[in-house]
């Protein structure tokens, strides 16, 4: 019989220690004391994953949807690509004892170049691959903030799972338990 998740504490102050996820980077942690953060999400997408029971926390910052565009770079830097990065994120979460069925997954980014005219649509393609992979792996996106033309900063508090977005000088909560 499944056990109830422990009670969720309040988000820690913004000045708490943080683990920075770079562009084309993936980080995961079982350390509950920190905030995981990534900056400069333009057309890139940031994905957070959090297990409310174990407090395992992960974040991916991928640039492009599909690795086939550059197999050599994909081999060296799989987190550059959504199709490799998302499964890798799930593997890392499992390694930390997370159950993917419990994961709270959020996403942000996927902005578009202004006046794109349909040439690039990197943001849209990045969003599409995430939705496909979420469906494939049985994940439900708990919240997302994507599109537009602006960059975003995405963070998650490992203790309580609260996900925050900062854009254009304003911060808001994207998801909270």
């Amino acid at each position: 019989m499944p056990q109830p998740a422990p009670s969720i504490p309040s988000p820690r102050p913004i000045g708490a220690p943080k683990l920075v996820v770079g562009v084309a980077d993936l980080q995961s942690t079982g350390d509950r004391t920190i905030r995981v953060i990534t900056h400069a999400l333009g057309s890139c997408i940031g994905v957070t994953a959090w297990d409310p029971r174990t407090r395992a926390t992960g974040m991916l910052h991928y640039m492009l949807p599909e690795s086939k565009i550059s197999p050599d770079k994909a081999e060296r830097q799989p987190a550059m690509f959504g199709d490799l990065g998302v499964p890798l994120l799930l593997e890392r979460m499992k390694a930390l004892g997370a159950d993917t069925r419990r994961l709270v997954v959020c996403a942000a980014g996927g902005a578009e170049v202004v006046a794109d005219g349909g040439t690039f649509r990197i943001g849209a393609r990045n969003r599409t691959i995430l939705r496909k992979l979420a469906w494939k792996h049985g994940l439900l996106l708990a919240a997302d903030d994507t599109g537009g033309n602006f960059s975003r900063t995405l963070s998650i508090d490992a203790e309580c799972g609260t996900v925050r977005i900062r854009t254009q000088g304003e911060e808001r909560t994207l998801w909270a338990a």
């Binding site: 562009v23 640039m63 690039f120």
Partner: protein
């Protein structure tokens, strides 16, 4: 913000680049860059010489044995890396702190400069343009932001948030009466950089057609800037509010996939730079909150 004409006047108050760095950039930005002349210029500057030797002897380059010879060091590093160092030294701390008025994180403007410059060099080689010239022009493409930064520091004036969907250069012009590409070109002219490098800075967001003064260099720098943005480099309050010229892509025979691969190259260039080419003693502090290089291990910051 009623004091916008003052932004252009800040060009007079910006600290000049050290003489050796300016001469080096002029040399490397010229159509017939001469490595021997570059070495002679570096020799005239003690700190530049020390920096070149330090990088040439770094473990990250896999160099066997130490070299104390500047010529060998330049050959080992390449003119490109020498140009990095020239500007990095010259710009410290000015360039590392650049972009603050645009809400760009500390150090990020420099990362964007490097990523764009490497992308421009790669694209230049492919398109038959002088790669070092492409590198220098792309490296300096956003120096106009320095004028906005100085204005911001001196007056506390903030750049208002731009509306979604508006070209940011048009927004700057509408709001301030001047824009960062124009200021950057004016600054580069004052520094005595080659005319086509100045033109590439002026037009890096809107390269003109060939019969309107355009060139391969201008298109290369424009697309390199776009590639750097796709890599998330240098994003501030301006986000992705710069259109990408499909006409420039057509002129260079570049398609969407090419530009995306260029974005990957820009990102990798920054990873490599941060992985080892910088002396940890003088770079770690300034990058304490920057994304990490390719072998990025988990780390915490307070």
């Amino acid at each position: 913000m009623g004091c916008l004409m003052n932004i252009a006047e800040t060009l007079d108050r910006l600290p000049p680049l050290p003489a050796a760095a300016t001469r080096l950039l002029r040399e490397l930005g010229s159509p017939d860059a001469d490595l021997d002349e570059a070495v002679r210029i570096i020799r005239t500057d003690e700190s530049l010489t020390a920096s070149v030797l330090r990088t040439a002897n770094s473990a990250a380059l896999g160099a066997r044995g130490r070299t104390l010879d500047l010529r060998a060091a330049v050959v080992r590093l390449g003119a490109r890396t020498v140009a990095h160092q020239a500007l990095e030294l010259a710009a410290a701390p000015t360039f590392r702190d650049a972009g603050v008025a645009f809400d760009v994180r500390r150090g990020e403007q420099w990362r964007a400069a490097i990523g764009g410059a490497r992308a421009a060099e790669e694209l230049g080689i492919r398109c038959g343009a002088e790669p070092e010239r492409c590198f220098v022009a792309a490296l300096l493409r956003d120096i106009g932001r320095l004028a906005f930064d100085l204005h911001h520091q001196q007056t506390g004036a903030e750049i208002p948030r731009p509306p979604a969907g508006e070209d940011f250069v048009a927004f700057e012009h509408r709001t301030f009466g001047v824009d960062h590409p124009t200021l950057g070109a004016d600054l580069a002219t004052r520094w005595g950089l080659p005319a086509e490098v100045c033109a590439a800075i002026r037009h890096h967001h809107h390269p003109p057609a060939r019969d309107e003064g355009g060139s391969v260099l201008l298109d290369v720098v424009h697309l390199a800037d776009a590639a750097a943005r796709f890599a998330g480099l240098g994003l501030g309050c301006d986000g992705l509010l710069y259109p990408v010229s499909t006409a420039a892509m057509d002129r260079l025979g570049v398609d969407r996939g090419d530009l995306e691969r260029l974005a990957l190259s820009a990102a990798v260039a920054v990873f490599e730079l941060e992985a080892g080419l910088n002396d940890p003693d003088d770079s770690a502090a300034s990058r304490s909150d920057s994304p990490q290089p390719a072998d990025r291990s988990a780390r915490r910051t307070a």
